[in-house]
């Protein structure tokens, strides 16, 4: 039986973590490569890097980070943030990332999904979706709308329609982020996650709102998610990945327990 995946997310800017991560002895780690190593050792099933890039110089720094991560950890990892075209994808994949994640760029130019899947295989292409709950209308029948540019811009696109469309275009996986839940640490948006996960045939990673192990248990059962993204709850060492997995194990949710 397939295990549910626990995936820490690291935000990177100009080759450094945007917020230092606390580890043993309360030492702060600012180097994304060291943080990746630490989570690899702790039992992360995959790692997501989100590159908050402002310039092309910083983009090149990120490629160097990806290369060093690929020499350090031997589990899959993905890179998202600022991937705009096939060339951006190619650089990240050749540097050693398993997957690339596209978000705003795919909304503006959906063909990037098909092109990426054609060039590297569907399994490499993750569609990142930022979603906000809105009133159900004719245009947004699911009551969930796609937003871009970090949640600042509404697109008028229905989230459920977009998830299905992205699958049709060749996305291999969806990373579904609830802007409403993001940063609250009050739990994932379960209704949204279940709605999307039940209506596509590709895996869905739930994102936004994780604060306690109970939240992961809920989104991996009620929320029908295949994987759960976590950030602050492990970055500040409130919980460890091993501890979260132990909790899920005690609640009959299968994760990888040996590493």
């Amino acid at each position: 039986m397939l295990s549910k995946r626990i995936i820490p997310c690291l935000d990177v800017r100009a080759g450094k973590l945007t917020k230092g991560i606390k580890f043993k002895d309360n030492m702060d780690i600012g180097d994304p490569v060291e943080a990746a190593r630490e989570y690899y050792e702790q039992g992360a099933d995959e790692i997501v890097f989100y590159d908050i890039t402002a310039s092309s110089d910083e983009r090149n720094i990120m490629i160097d980070v990806v290369e060093r991560v690929a020499r350090t950890i031997f589990i899959p990892f993905s890179v998202g943030g600022g991937i705009r075209n096939l060339d951006d994808m190619r650089k990240v994949i050749l540097a050693g990332a398993e997957k690339v994640s596209v978000n705003s760029a795919a909304v503006v130019n959906p063909e990037i999904i098909t092109e990426g899947a054609g060039a590297f295989g569907s399994q490499c292409i993750v569609l990142g979706m930022d979603v906000k709950e809105v009133e159900k209308t004719k245009k947004i029948p699911s009551g969930y709308e796609i937003v871009i540019h970090g949640g600042r811009k509404f697109t008028g696109i229905d989230a459920l329609w977009w998830a299905r469309e992205a699958e049709r275009l060749g996305a291999g996986e969806i990373c579904l982020n609830s802007i409403d839940a993001d940063g609250t640490q009050d739990g994932y948006e379960l209704n949204l996650t279940a709605l999307i996960s039940e209506n596509v045939h590709i895996p869905v990673i739930a994102s936004g709102g994780a604060g306690k192990p109970e939240h992961l248990a809920a989104v991996l059962t009620t929320g029908k998610a295949d994987a759960a993204l976590i950030a602050s709850m492990v970055h500040y060492r409130t919980y460890t990945i091993a501890g979260i997995k132990q909790y899920l194990h005690e609640h009959q949710i299968k994760t990888r327990m040996s590493w």
């Binding site: 397939l2 690929a70 050749l94 398993e98 295989g121 895996p203």
Partner: protein, 209 residues
């Protein structure tokens, strides 16, 4: 020296990085004259069976691999590299290398587990039940899990070729082993420590002795 066969099917860097990590020298090539220098050959691959076979035939690598295995030298198949050592793949209706009797089949879209529909590809970590011990899988914790990402699976005709079994809707052959050939559907280079151990075991394997 370990040779990684480059047949333009996906990214080979991750296998190379894993070999660097365990201190093995390697070369990546699609030239059979260079492959001759190797003691061990890894046949990796991410991509589609049809294109892969076209390339292998064009570079006369399909015949070369057959010869290598017939000489009793160690070959490791990974993912697509495992699927196309069988005779036939349902993917792109492809006639394959045929080192092992059997076919590569697609998972059914209608599979369920405890009533829940299963997604395709089978993506993520899953366990392998080994039927017998094998030098390439020594010192692997039975609880270990491995990273899979695939929509097709190998189905060898001869049950004796099946070394490991994984459950995903059905029980499929996730590891096959015939004499000096070992092939797995999962990615050892992305399966953490147990995966690196498999690569290390393979590089130390001397099936002719």
């Amino acid at each position: 020296m370990i040779a990684i066969i480059d047949y333009k099917a996906g990214n080979l860097t991750s296998v190379a990085r894993a070999l660097e990590n365990i201190g093995e020298e390697y070369l990546i090539t699609d030239e059979s004259c260079l492959l001759k220098k190797a003691t061990h050959v890894i046949f990796p691959g991410v991509g589609a069976a049809g294109e892969a076979m076209n390339y292998l035939r064009e570079k006369k690598l399909a015949a070369w691999i057959r010869e290598w295995v017939n000489e009793g030298k160690p070959l490791m198949g990974i993912c697509l590299g495992t699927q196309i050592i069988l005779e036939y793949s349902e993917e792109n209706d492809t006639s394959c290398i045929g080192l092992v009797a059997g076919r590569t089949k697609r998972f059914s879209d209608k599979m369920t587990e405890s009533g829940i529909p299963l997604k395709i590809p089978h993506m993520g970590w899953n366990s392998v039940a080994f039927r017998r011990s094998h030098p390439v899988f020594e010192n692997i914790n039975p609880e270990a899990e491995f990273y899979f990402v695939h929509s097709y699976y190998p189905a060898p005709a001869n049950d004796a070729a099946v070394l490991g079994i994984t459950g995903y809707g059905i029980n499929f052959c996730s590891v096959l082993a015939v004499e000096n050939l070992v092939a797995m559907q999962f990615h050892p280079e992305k399966s953490g420590r147990p995966g690196l151990q498999i690569l290390r075991n393979f590089c130390a394997w001397r099936p002719l002795c």
